[in-house]
């Protein structure tokens, strides 16, 4: 049991190292000339060294794409990422165990001081991974399901138990709804998706969602499934099921439109990116912390409020100049249009909008 984490970390490290070696073997010779002459891609000039990060598993697929993309220009750079969970990532970062962290929640409370102490100054906190969470359902004969936040909260709190409930009918005028029982499907493992979805329900329908927001699903007795794939599988397998999953993983299932203001909005990467733009920045963490209190109760129909935002956390300065150059180059690539496109391709995330990128770029560039 105890060996699980180190083993996995080691496997990840070995895997990444192997990838690095492959990239090196594959492109090293070919890239020699061009990188020496200074390539003009988003990653900037080639850097070398090793940095390691830990944190949110939501970022894992995107991180793999980022590392692969980054190593195309800096084949001698090694970046390790251990998807040990947001909390573990922040703790390790604050304890100087890793050089950067990935987290589904921004640093707050007394962790701010810890992070500042670790960095000996300001820390850099930027959104790098934005993804819409789709409300997925499987109900024969019903397409284009529409749900208001309050109805959604009541459904997931198991206060509404059948599909032909008046509240659902009111959201779907003119549709015939069966009397099938509703089976809510939630994650059985800890998940940033759960945390963000619960946060959405709390923010958009506080009166009907009285549970605490955490990465563990708070309502007992629902159908619980492991991982996004397990959840999607369970929703597909049952009749009258409803659950929540990353939009990119929810293909082939009915996706409910949720009510934003007066309109019903379908999940979309653009809506998720727009939500980040519309959200209020939280500056508790200093000038280089771009934490956002997501506008879950947004009324702008171009935003999709049930979205997930995951952050990268790094120091604004490192004692080792080589390390700071590598962190800076890596994060610059991550937020660049290239990096965001790579993540979209690999993980189905929503690319950061130009406005947000312009806002956060100075913080990344200031890493020294």
């Amino acid at each position: 049991m105890k060996t699980m984490r180190p083993t996995r970390a080691r496997i990840a490290a070995v895997g990444l190292a192997a990838t690095g070696a492959l990239v090196l073997a594959g492109c090293g010779a070919a890239n020699e000339g061009s990188s020496a002459g200074g390539s003009s891609t988003a990653a900037g000039p080639a850097v070398t060294g090793t940095i390691s990060g830990a944190g949110a598993s939501t970022q894992q697929a995107a991180t793999q794409a980022w590392v692969a993309g980054f190593q195309a220009t800096s084949p001698d750079a090694v970046i390790n990422y251990d998807p040990s969970g947001s909390g573990a990532g922040r703790t390790q970062f604050e304890a100087s165990g890793v050089d950067f962290a990935g987290s589904d929640a921004y640093i707050k409370g007394d962790e701010i001081k810890k992070a500042q102490d670790r960095c000996g100054g300001e820390y850099v906190e930027i959104p790098v991974y934005v993804s819409p969470i789709a409300v997925v359902y499987n109900l024969q004969g019903v397409t284009d399901l529409q749900l208001s936040p309050s109805t959604l909260a009541k459904v997931f709190a198991k206060k509404i138990t059948t599909w032909n409930d008046p509240a659902i009918a009111a959201d779907n005028p003119g549709k015939t709804l069966p009397s099938t029982a509703i089976t809510t499907v939630n994650r059985s493992d800890k998940s940033g998706t759960t945390q963000n979805f619960a946060d959405y329900l709390k923010g958009a329908a506080a009166a009907d969602w009285t549970f605490d927001v955490s990465d563990t699903w708070p309502v007992q007795g629902g159908e619980a499934a492991q991982g996004t794939s397990g959840l999607v599988g369970a929703v597909k397998a049952g009749q009258g099921t409803i659950g929540y999953a990353d939009e990119s993983q929810a293909q082939g299932l009915g996706q409910a439109k949720i009510k934003v203001g007066d309109t019903f909005v379908a999940p979309s990467p653009a809506g998720a990116a727009k939500l980040l733009e519309a959200s209020q920045r939280v500056t508790d963490g200093g000038a280089k912390s771009f934490a956002y209190k997501l506008k879950r109760d947004s009324t702008d129909a171009s935003t999709y409020p049930a979205s997930l935002v995951s952050y990268a956390i790094a120091c604004s300065k490192y004692s080792d100049a080589k390390k700071s150059a590598l962190v800076k180059a890596y994060l610059s690539y991550v937020i660049s249009a290239d990096g965001q496109a790579a993540a979209q391709k690999a993980a189905g995330s929503a690319p950061l909008s130009d406005a947000v990128r312009q806002l956060i770029t100075p913080a990344v560039s200031s890493i020294a």
Binding site: M1, A88, A224, A237, T241
Partner: protein, 321 residues
């Protein structure tokens, strides 16, 4: 398990040896065997020490710091319940089946069929548990929906089948059946070996006295093999208690206590819960998971001790010693 002492030639051959010659090889072998035995104890003690040391913070932390803000007993309790419930149901299903299969192989089937069947049963034990999990969730669960609806309709007055029936079939019943399939080969293999060792003279005596084949089995084979059946079942129970991935994949579990076997709300099991929660846990949450692991460790230790005790108590009568 049982070196047959009934063969009259075995003993004289041993005692007739003039004197024990202690060669270097003997001493090396004795030493390494002793070392291996001690090593097992050290490993066991090490595991116990690790579990206890790591779970102390969980027991001393205040409830507010624990996952879900609940008391540690309230957190682990349903998990213990779920672990025992799934394992016991699996045992109830698998033991009669395993014994029946073993009897068929040893006493009913034609020799060639028996051999083939034996191989197939042993092969079941070699299938990785994750494969059973995938099979359970994608084949058995959907296939059992109709049966569970039937149970609920006609036997719904029994609390076990009170429903509402799960929409996906990922229930305690399906988990238990999957576990039963997983432990079936263990019970069968052990029982088969013991049944094969039933003294031929006992069997022939029973038949000579006019017993039918079934009466012979009841009088000679089953009493002789009882300790084997029990130890096979306990080995199976041990696997069922500790089964992780199959339960984690199949079961729709949450922290509740219910005897209802066919709804979406089921108590999770300790091992499955650790597998699901560990990856993203930090701080005290990890200690709580290790504390639940300690509880599982104690449960399996108890189960095995009880099994030993039963076997020892019975051994004098069975002739299996």
């Amino acid at each position: 398990m049982s070196a047959p002492t009934t063969t009259p030639t075995a003993k004289p051959a041993g005692s007739a040896r003039p004197k024990p010659v202690q060669q270097l090889g003997d001493r090396i072998f004795a030493g390494s065997a002793t070392g291996a035995g001690i090593f097992i104890l050290i490993v066991l003690a090490g595991v116990a020490a690790f579990l206890i040391a790591q779970s102390i913070p969980a027991f001393t932390a205040s409830s507010a710091d624990l996952p879900g803000g609940r008391n540690i007993v309230a957190y682990i309790g349903p998990l213990i319940f779920g672990t025992l419930l799934s394992a016991v149901i699996a045992l109830v299903i698998a033991t009669p089946l395993g014994v029946a299969v073993a009897l068929f192989i040893t006493h009913y089937a034609p020799r060639r069929l028996a051999q083939g069947l034996g191989y197939v049963i042993d092969l079941l034990a070699a299938v990785p548990s994750i494969v059973y999990g995938l099979w359970g969730v994608s084949v058995l669960a959907p296939a059992s929906l109709g049966f569970m609806t039937w149970l609920n309709k006609y036997l719904g007055w029994i609390p076990l089948f009170a429903g509402p029936v799960s929409a996906t079939g990922r229930t305690m019943l399906v988990v238990s059946v999957t576990l039963a399939v997983m432990i079936l080969p263990i019970i069968t293999a052990v029982s088969r070996e013991v049944f094969l060792q039933t003294p031929k003279l006992h069997e022939e005596a029973a038949l000579a006295l006019g017993a039918t084949r079934w009466e012979m089995i009841r009088m000679a084979v089953l009493p002789f093999g009882r300790s084997g059946i029990i130890s096979g079942s306990m080995l199976g129970l041990g696997r069922a208690l500790g089964e992780t991935m199959a339960v984690a994949i199949i079961l729709s579990g949450s922290g509740i206590v219910t005897f209802n076997l066919i709804s979406s709300a089921n108590p999770s099991s300790i091992a499955a819960n650790i597998a699901l929660q560990f990856p993203d846990s930090t701080g005290v949450a990890v200690n709580v998971l290790i504390a639940s692991g300690l509880v599982l460790f104690v449960i399996t230790l108890l189960v095995n001790s009880i099994a030993r005790w039963i076997i020892n108590r019975r051994s004098e009568f069975s002739g299996a010693n």
